[in-house]
């Protein structure tokens, strides 16, 4: 059994997950902020994005990116890896946006009113008052979204990205031994379980910080 293949697959999976986490966080926050915006068309468009991409399978988003990006007017030509990142980011951003929106709207209305009455614009209020508070509160749900994203990177194997599942299927097709997938499963566990632990750790740290700042108030 060729463990080198699995190791290279793991590396691609980690790159795929890391890049997609960062980019989907950026896109997701942008769409979540748009969803909470006081301008109706912007908010409604953001809501449409969230509702649409949360209700269709990731596989379709990936196939769409694979076939569609080169054909679009922009004529974007991406490698398979970049296509997978694009699909994962577009899909996951909808979940991130929903979490961000919930976090912002759970804050007291007084926060927005206070920011606005201090002379800040709506965007400034969002950036300086609402988002910093919301972000600390949404770490646990964001963590679950990113763990799901990490598991979803396995779908990149369907568009020929040589990640963990793809490599283990190559090994399986050479050896006819499906148990190699059990080994791959353990590798996935070794990635996703610590990620869950990390989320718990960050959550604990942040709640301590939150308690302190509240005590100082």
């Amino acid at each position: 059994m060729d463990l080198g293949l699995l190791a290279s697959g793991l590396l691609v999976t980690l790159e795929l997950a890391g890049l997609s986490i960062v980019l989907s966080l950026v896109l997701g926050i942008a769409i979540g902020v748009m969803r909470a915006a006081p301008v109706a068309p912007v908010a409604i468009l953001a809501e449409g994005y969230i509702a649409f991409f949360r209700n269709i399978p990731l596989l379709i988003v990936l196939f769409f990116a694979l076939n569609g990006l080169p054909a679009s007017p922009l004529g974007i030509r991406l490698s398979y890896f970049e296509t997978a990142v694009a699909g994962l980011v577009v899909y996951t951003a909808a979940y991130v946006a929903e979490v961000v929106r919930a976090g912002v709207q759970a804050l007291s209305r007084g926060q927005t009113e206070a920011g606005r009455s201090l002379g800040m614009s709506w965007l400034q209020t969002m950036r300086l008052v609402l988002l910093p508070q919301a972000l600390t509160a949404i770490v646990p749900p964001l963590g679950s979204v990113f763990i799901a994203l990490t598991k979803n990177t396995a779908l990149a194997s369907t568009i020929a990205v040589p990640e963990l599942l793809y490599q283990s299927r190559i090994i399986e097709s050479r050896t006819f031994n499906p148990n190699v997938l059990l080994l791959t499963g353990l590798v996935y566990l070794a990635v996703t379980l610590p990620l869950g632990g990390l989320v718990n750790y960050v959550e604990a740290r942040m709640s301590v910080v939150g308690a302190r700042s509240q005590g100082g108030r």
Binding site: P38, A40, A43, I44, L45, A46, E47, G48, Y49, I50, A51, F52, N55, I56, P57, L58, L59, I60, F63, F64, N67, G68, A71, S72, P73, Q105, R109, I147, K151, N152, T153, A154, L155, S157, T158, L165, R169, E172, P178, L181, L182, T184, G185, Y188, L189, T192, L193, G196
Partner: protein
């Protein structure tokens, strides 16, 4: 009714331009659906296959497959989920550990890996009234859904007032009798919306069947666009079908959510 809607509307800050959340959602999705063909330059003539009834019948069989697999998987997962939830709450340490390891392990794995593993491990010569692909997909979805629903049910059992158990025990029911006749029925009722939300995930996850070349909805889409060479347009239609399936499920789930008065 109108007065009630008015007061709810004025209380709900989120409503914009006097629209309810659901209306906003529908308008937004409609905008996205108009936007996509423009961005990806879909051509009207590539939609012509979808004016034919035969194509819709072909896709409709895919929708039926998706629904049947999802329903079978979720119904079959419930007894297993209940067993796992009770196992995690068991006073016996080995049972508790085994169930915890199983639930957490399955939930931490990519579903696609599970599907491949089940598919590749199935014996070659199965009694063939169902395809190997269908059996593998349904079984993998069932196990995965059982692990997820076990957590929902466990949370439901923990959230139920302990007086329910104590009351049942003091009426002379044993621990298992109380679980079966008093606790679990209430837990199933309370967690029904979450269990149905899981159904949405399940419907989306049936698309993974196409990866093991099972002829479900996505695979039927692939067959169509390989014939007509219109991948974008066909994927668009398939995405629409998935969206409306899930949208319908969501509406059912909302209507089943117990109102404040019933609690």
């Amino acid at each position: 009714m109108a007065a009630e809607a008015l007061s709810v509307g004025s209380l709900r800050r989120r409503s914009r331009a006097g629209l309810s959340n659901r209306q906003q959602s529908m308008i937004g999705v409609a905008a996205v659906l108009v936007f996509l063909p423009l961005v990806f330059r879909m051509e009207p003539r590539n939609f012509t296959p979808f004016t034919e009834l035969a194509i819709w019948r072909f896709l409709g069989e895919g929708v039926v497959t998706v629904l049947v697999v999802s329903i079978v998987a979720i119904v079959a997962s419930l007894p297993m989920a209940a067993a796992l939830a009770l196992g995690r709450l068991s006073s016996q340490r080995p049972i508790r550990l085994a169930c915890t390891a199983f639930v957490e392990g399955i939930r931490a794995l990519p579903l696609l890996l599970l599907i491949f593993y089940v598919f590749l491990s199935l014996p070659r010569d199965l009694p063939a009234f169902l395809s190997r692909e269908t059996i593998a997909l349904t079984a993998a979805l069932m196990v995965y859904t059982a692990a997820v629903n076990a957590e929902t049910l466990r949370a439901g059992i923990l959230a139920l007032d302990p007086c329910q158990m104590e009351g049942a025990r003091s009426l002379g029911l044993g621990h298992w009798g109380a679980m079966r006749y008093v606790v679990l029925p209430q837990v199933f009722r309370d967690t029904l919306p979450s269990l149905i939300a899981q159904f949405t995930t399940l419907v989306k996850d049936t698309s993974l069947g196409s990866v093991i070349s099972m002829v479900e909805l996505v695979q039927r889409g692939i067959i169509i666009f390989q014939g007509f060479r219109n991948p974008m347009e066909t994927l668009y239609i398939v995405a629409l079908l998935f969206f409306f399936l899930n949208f319908a499920m969501e509406q059912i789930s909302i209507s089943l959510r117990p109102s404040a008065a019933e609690r």
